[in-house]
């Protein structure tokens, strides 16, 4: 069968194209490893916030002792012990060797309830993110408020028959839980759960580069003219590209999932949870592959030169990735951008994979993304065939 010969030829050509293999297999593997490790736990709802601070205590007495006790109870924040003078500690924070310096001024406790209270000084390092700044400031403010109230209420507590106030009683009035938490498990994407499907999809859509450059070369070299003079039409030629590259994409899926499951943990990251719906996962892989290869065939039939294919694919893929939550996870985007990202095929793919990996979804949950991807692929394929016919009628 001619199509089988076309498929076998395509595999041989691809196996001898080291640049394409690097682009399709090494690039996503490296991205997955680097991004999963670099952003480890950044996405998790119960991420352990690692904050280091110096404390310069220039006061002495019961108040600052109570405050120190409160600060020590904040387990997310690690106090670094040092006898160095305040100026040097501030210098260290400037160099990002710790995020904060907290200075309790002399006489803080004594003046707290007076008319001229002294403020505790909090200094943040240059690389501290705004959210972390606010978090640490709020935590300090909370600790100071409790100590302040405790001191303020002390005379009342000392009255005969009075009960000492419990400053932590209000803690139980707040119950917090992430919407990603189901059955007590954390369902918010970890770095590996976000990055494996994200960079996998990024690489899958980059298949447009080797596919379209090969296609353009065949057209320019007259090989397509020869094949058409033999009697091969658009159907055979498009199928001869679609099938082998679909195989390449599915191989990418398998290898990158293996990287997520086995290689990332080997480097100290979390292991990828593949969910419990293998059929939905397989369908998602097939849908994303079909969309990516059909999109590549459309580009191949739109462009006239290899350079155009490279530039168009590079720009279009980066845009799709930026919009689709590949580079910045969708849940971190503002609502407007989240709405825009709903139009990115890479975004559809990512949401579909996250349905399976995180939300324990099956085919029913992934159905919208499957429909969008298969629909997008079919539209691309029809357009590619139309462009092919149009070009060859000239």
């Amino acid at each position: 069968m001619p199509v089988l010969s076309l498929i076998a030829k395509e595999w041989k050509l691809l196996l001898r194209d080291w640049h394409a293999l690097l682009l399709l297999f090494v690039m996503p593997a490296v991205f997955i490893l680097v991004m999963s490790l670099a952003l480890q736990d950044r996405f998790a709802a119960h991420q352990s916030v690692s904050v280091h601070y110096y404390l310069v205590n220039q006061d002495s007495g019961a108040v600052d002792a109570a405050l120190l006790e409160r600060l020590a109870a904040m387990r997310e924040f690690t106090r670094l012990d040092s006898d160095a003078p305040a100026a040097e500690l501030i210098e260290r924070v400037k160099q990002d060797r710790a995020q904060f310096v907290v200075r309790i001024p002399k006489g803080f406790g004594a003046a707290m309830l007076g008319e001229k209270p002294q403020a505790i000084e909090m200094l943040a390092g240059p690389s501290v993110e705004p959210a972390l700044y606010q978090l640490f400031a709020a935590a300090l403010r909370d600790a100071i408020s409790r100590v302040y109230l405790q001191q303020k209420l002390a005379p009342l507590a000392a009255m005969p028959g009075a009960t000492p106030p419990n400053m932590d009683a209000a803690t139980g009035l707040l119950h917090d839980q992430s919407l990603f938490e189901i059955g007590g498990q954390n369902k918010r994407p970890s770095a590996v759960q976000q990055n494996v499907p994200a960079w996998l999809l990024f690489a899958m859509f980059f298949i447009a580069i080797p596919l379209s450059t090969t296609w353009v070369q065949e057209r320019q070299q007259g090989t397509y003219a020869r094949l058409r003079s033999i009697g091969l039409g658009a159907g055979a030629l498009l199928t001869g590209k679609l099938v082998p590259y679909l195989g390449v994409n599915l191989l990418q899926v398998v290898l990158m999932l293996l990287v997520g499951v086995y290689v990332v943990p080997w480097f100290g990251g979390a292991s990828l949870n593949l969910g419990h719906a293998p059929l939905a996962l397989a369908l998602m892989a097939l849908a994303a592959s079909f969309a990516a290869v059909a999109y590549a065939l459309l580009i191949a039939n739109l462009v006239s030169t290899g350079e155009q294919a490279m530039i168009f694919t590079g720009v279009a893929n980066l845009l799709m990735a930026a919009l689709g939550g590949i580079m910045v996870p969708r849940f971190l985007m503002p609502p407007t951008m989240q709405a825009v990202s709903a139009y990115s095929p890479m975004g559809w793919g990512l949401e579909g994979f996250l349905d399976v990996f995180l939300r324990q979804g099956g085919i029913a949950m992934t159905a919208p993304e499957l429909g969008l991807l298969f629909g997008f692929g079919t539209a691309c394929l029809l357009l590619a065939g139309w462009c092919f016919g149009l070009r060859n009628s000239k």
Binding site: K12, Q221, I230, N392, K394
Partner: protein, 323 residues
């Protein structure tokens, strides 16, 4: 200046493999036709040369004949099958060797041949034999495992040709098969083409190398600016009957009596010792020579017909073939 092509004596009654009538073609967006009112017949078994400068329409014509381009108007029949309706049938017995290196540089010679044998859907039983035959005819047996990208220009041309032989075509279109190669490889390819034609394959061979066409082809069509300017055997085209006539330089200016006698010659132009007449064939030429002899007119020099196709082309178009 160009003469219309005579169609009355086409092919001496031989079966025609290619019949083109009133063909026109224009590329989208172009301001003029690339093929203009072209009619042509190629007999079975001919080694037909299509000669013309670059841009004359040779490749366009081949592309129409192989179904790669649709004709705007006119009729084309290939061995009785009409285009484009019966293109599928035509593919079964014809092959195109394009001007470009139409194969895969990253595959070896053997892999390329096997691939094209595969897409031709040759029966498994004959596929290996056909590949071996093509290797042998093209002299590529020693290079079977070499990557096509590493072949010299001449070997690439041979591979290009070999692929076109895989389906043992009865009709082979060769589009500029010797462009850009060394003389040794050109010689090899021309010999191979002669061999293919000798085995009964009808070959349509386009070239802008007139020496090749003169040496190789039984019949020749001269194409320029999308029009077929002349068609015939080399002898027919270069003979004096094809417009040029007989040019004679006399030894002396003829006397009035001699002048009066010579006035009977067809299309006589006499300017001093320069005499031109236009006999239509060999018998007419004999009559001119006999009259000159009978009148005692001494001849210093004479020229009948064209020295080569370059001269013919110059006469037909006013331009050099390589312009």
């Amino acid at each position: 200046m160009a003469r219309p092509v005579s169609r009355a004596d086409d092919n001496n009654g031989k079966r025609r493999v290619i019949e083109i009538e009133g063909l026109n073609f224009r590329y989208p967006g172009a301001s003029r036709d690339a093929i203009r009112d072209l009619s042509l017949r190629v007999p079975a078994g001919a080694l037909f040369g299509l000669l013309g400068p670059n841009g004359s329409g040779k490749t366009t014509l081949i592309s129409i004949l192989t179904g790669l381009l649709p004709a705007a108007s006119g009729t084309v029949r290939i061995d009785g099958h009409s285009l484009p309706g019966q293109l599928h049938d035509i593919h079964a017995f014809s092959a195109l060797v394009p001007q470009d290196y139409a194969f895969y540089p990253r595959l070896s010679v053997m892999e390329n041949l096997r691939f094209f044998a595969g897409v031709l859907a040759l029966p498994a039983g004959v596929r290996a034999a056909r590949v071996q035959d093509a290797l042998s005819v093209a002299g590529l047996a020693d290079f079977r495992n070499a990557r096509a990208a590493q072949l010299s220009g001449g070997l690439k041309r041979r591979l290009n040709l070999a692929i076109g032989l895989l389906n043992r075509p009865r009709l082979l279109f060769l589009d500029e098969p010797t462009v850009g190669i060394d003389p040794q490889s050109r010689r090899f390819i021309l010999d191979a083409i002669k061999h293919i034609a000798a085995e009964g394959t009808t070959v349509v061979y386009t070239s802008h190398y007139m020496e090749e066409v003169e040496m190789l082809c039984d019949e020749i069509g001269v194409l320029d600016d999308g029009r077929l300017l002349a068609r015939g055997t080399l002898q027919q085209l270069l003979g004096g009957g094809n417009g040029q006539g007989l040019a004679v330089t006399l030894a002396e200016v003829p006397t009035p009596a001699q002048h009066a006698a010579l006035s009977a010659l067809p299309g006589l132009v006499l300017d001093g010792v320069e005499l031109k007449v236009t006999p239509t064939d060999g018998a007419g030429l004999n009559r001119v020579l006999a009259l000159l002899a009978a009148q005692g007119v001494a001849v210093r020099r004479m020229k009948y017909g064209y020295g080569n196709l370059e001269e013919l082309f110059l006469h037909l178009t006013g331009r050099q073939l390589r312009d």
